[in-house]
């Protein structure tokens, strides 16, 4: 069977991002809770971060010239894939510890896997990115695995 995945492409499995350390603030929690339509006071007041707040906390803050004209930033963790149209994606998230304002969190992303499947209308490439978030004591706080499909 022919494959779209060259050895060179597969050699990217295991590649890691530079660890990214961010401060959790009450103001950022409040903005996130309000924008998502949250209805719980502890989140709206910023006393605790709601689940998925880490998505906003660790979204890349890129400079204007790093954005494409479409407004998209290029994920430097990913190699160039032979298929480019992104389809649905999936997430698995484990919440190990609560997050509060004042916490410093560090996220490290790893390109965990790249594999191919044959879809009804042709080949599909799957890739998986793991994000591990730890506190300053080194304890895991959140674990996330994202799976994306390209066709």
């Amino acid at each position: 069977m022919t494959t779209l995945l060259s050895d060179e492409l597969l050699a990217n499995i295991g590649r890691q991002s530079t660890p990214h350390r961010e401060l959790v603030t009450r103001r950022d929690i409040r903005k996130y809770a309000i924008a998502t339509g949250n209805r719980q006071r502890k989140y709206l007041d910023g006393d605790q971060a709601p689940p998925m707040f880490h998505v906003a906390l660790f979204w890349d803050v890129v400079e204007l010239e790093e954005l494409t004209p479409d407004g998209v930033s290029i994920d430097s963790l990913l190699p160039k894939f032979p298929l480019e149209r992104a389809m649905a994606g999936g997430l698995k998230i484990d919440y190990l510890k609560p997050v509060h304002p004042g916490d410093w969190l560090t996220a490290t992303r790893t390109l965990a896997d790249i594999y191919e499947k044959r879809g009804r209308s042709g080949p599909l490439i799957f890739y998986e990115v793991d994000m591990l978030i730890v506190n300053d004591a080194g304890d895991p706080v959140i674990r996330e695995r994202t799976t994306r499909i390209l066709r």
Binding site: A35, N38, A56, L91, I93
Partner: protein, 146 residues
């Protein structure tokens, strides 16, 4: 705004397979979508530039951000759970795009209860107005035994 200082604590034994979580109607508008993407620092034009979304990427309208649908699954579980436990894990996928102007709904059903472990698994969903599940998922919560 309704006050969701949730009811008294419930033990895991009060939960049964088949229990339905309250459904919530969701009608995100341009303002909410703008604020959400601003909070993320997500500048993808499909979320705020309607001519671009339609003419360049071929969508019928402004696309609701996928992770916001994921967030609503969490809210559905946490509002039901209240102070009776903790959401420890979730798995979901964005199966189909949804657009500003659509009325969506979140909800779920308990699919597994393990009293000894204090663990409850819940199938959760976001549906569009046609009733199609666009964002299915499974959440795991831990509750107290008594």
């Amino acid at each position: 705004m309704i006050n969701l200082a949730l009811s008294e604590k419930r033990p895991v034994t009060s939960v049964q397979v088949g229990d339905a979580l309250p459904e919530r109607e969701l009608t995100p508008d341009n303002v909410q979508l703008f604020l959400y993407n601003a909070v993320l620092w997500n500048a993808h034009r499909i979320h705020f530039d309607e001519p671009y979304a339609k003419d360049v990427e071929g969508y019928p309208g402004l696309v609701i951000a996928g992770p916001m649908l994921g967030d609503w699954l969490h809210q559905c579980v946490e509002e039901w759970l209240g102070d009776s436990g903790r959401l420890v894990s979730i798995e979901y996928s964005n199966r189909a795009a949804t657009y500003i102007g659509e009325t969506l709904a979140s909800g779920g059903t308990v699919i597994e209860v393990s009293p000894a472990a204090g663990e409850v698994r819940i199938e959760v969903f976001i549906k569009n107005a046609a009733g199609d599940v666009v964002t299915p998922g499974v959440a795991t919560v831990m509750m107290e035994a008594q």
